[in-house]
Symmetry: C2
Subunit: 303 residues, 2 copies
């Protein structure tokens, strides 16, 4: 038996099959289409599976009501707004399935199979355009009472005074979010006005002082966020991933050094880089799909 | 059957007995003495109990190694340093018992029997000389991987730039800790140099502008701490207690107003005042004592 993880991305969709033990059996990337097109592609992928597929989970890049699986708002896949994608796919694929928020899926995968493997108490921080955070306890995300836990990107830790998209000032995202790095560089006099994190890192590598200063501010803010998580949640391990973490020498490594310098009473957790890369979402979704089946089996057994 | 909670305070010790349902059967306050004296007082209290007492828990005001019950450092009861008080009392009283950190006991009581009753997901903040925080999930404190979770008093949220006893700057404690309020008032020109939270509140009530400004800074910092807890932990409810919260019109109420003003994406939890007062520690210890018995019973039942 196997379970299917679907990472329904903005341009490409990843399909990944795991067996009962969580080992990856097959994977495929297809262009992203409508929900009906996704159902068709998933059906073909399932037909080619060496073992019977019993359940699936599909990621949603956007807000999701966990009580009914309905998408609130997806910026990249607007046709999902107000729709319960797992319900529709479930009919088409004739098997049980659930939707899972994409950041949550990636965090589950990193915590269970990636850099967090073996720990059971992992806080995952993803540094992308936005900053995602999730506390994965015993393999499940602690969502909080209103689904809002882990929002470390919107805790004020930067001295920059910059107004964040969320309305507060000095949030972690204003200092280290992908686009925000480019904006901070522009404010410090960079010639290009539309640069991204990679541009800033390349400039810093080439000795651009403004870019170095921007990345130093970013690392300092991330270091404070690590202290904050340590003081409030005290996880055994922090795992940092996302595009901005791909240059750890400019981001994660100096952030950990800042955190060590500023730490006082804190017992700082180990900080590791995420290890699963772009397949984390699909891997996490497949794990969630397997959980669905395990819970259904347990319910039958209890029945 | 009943369970005994002992709140071993700096000057007075509270003894409290609960039945299987958690209802309070008896309570008594005795002067604090040595551990042997405490054992004597507890023995007499137990002898007077209407029902057999099966277990106890004793609070420790200080650091405690949960793995062996040994006190690291207790500022007020230095004879406990390096000692396992529950082990010694257990011999004297001839029943099983455990030690519990005093803040943890109070938080458990407020979450289970006080203002948090019925919620199951409560973050408790105690505003005293120091600031204690504890996330009580389903009646138990989430201690974190290194026993450090909930340290909201040492998250920088104040703009005052004041160096905290912990070594960081602008921690919540520097803005709203009992003695710190007096210090901030002195820095703003108060004549008295040894004032406490009550003095500052009385001065503010009488229209002292410096005292009003100090309390406004304190409330703003507490509001940010509430936002921080909301973003990272997202509890269903926040309960605020401690001496400084006894003047909620100057502290908790304006803090909630500040948090509402500054909140953006946050779903703010309800914020309530603690309701158990000075008996919270003993009540929580009694609940922990009852848990010890329930676990021991379950172990026996499991055979």
């Amino acid at each position: 038996m196997s379970a299917l993880g679907i990472d329904y991305g903005g341009t490409h969709t990843k399909l990944l099959l795991v067996d009962d033990g969580g080992a990856v059996l097959a994977r495929e990337t297809v262009p992203t289409g409508t929900l009906a097109e996704l159902g068709g592609a998933a059906g073909r992928f399932i037909d080619a599976s060496p073992t019977p597929v019993r359940s699936f989970a599909v990621t949603v890049a956007g807000t999701l009501d966990p009580s009914n699986g309905v998408v609130g708002r997806s910026a990249n896949l607007p046709w999902l707004n107000g729709v319960a994608p797992a319900e529709l796919l479930s009919e088409q694929l004739a098997m049980p399935g659930v939707a899972v928020q994409d950041g949550e899926a990636g965090a589950i995968a990193e915590a269970r199979f990636g850099a967090g493997r073996g720990s059971g108490d992992v806080f995952v921080i993803v540094l992308g355009t936005g900053i995602a955070g999730a506390h994965v306890l015993k393999g499940s995300v602690h969502r909080g009472a209103h689904g809002g836990a882990g929002e470390i990107g919107h805790v004020p830790v930067a001295d920059n005074g910059v107004r964040c998209s969320c309305g507060q000032r000095g949030c972690l995202e204003t200092a280290i979010g992908g686009q925000q790095l480019g904006l901070r560089w522009s404010e410090r006099g960079a010639e290009r006005q539309d640069s991204n994190a990679r541009d800033v890192v390349e400039a810093a590598d080439a000795g651009d002082e403004a870019a170095v200063a921007v990345l130093d501010d970013a690392a300092r803010a991330l270091g404070r966020a690590i202290l904050n998580v340590s003081a409030v949640v005290d996880p055994a391990l922090i795992v940092v991933g996302g595009g901005v973490a791909r240059s750890p020498e400019w981001t994660v490594e100096p952030a950990v050094a800042h955190a060590r310098t500023e730490a006082t009473f804190h017992v700082l957790p180990e900080v590791k880089l995420a290890s699963l890369g772009v397949w984390a979402g699909a891997r996490g979704a497949a794990a969630v799909a397997a959980d669905v089946l395990a819970r259904a089996g347990a319910a039958v057994n209890r029945g």
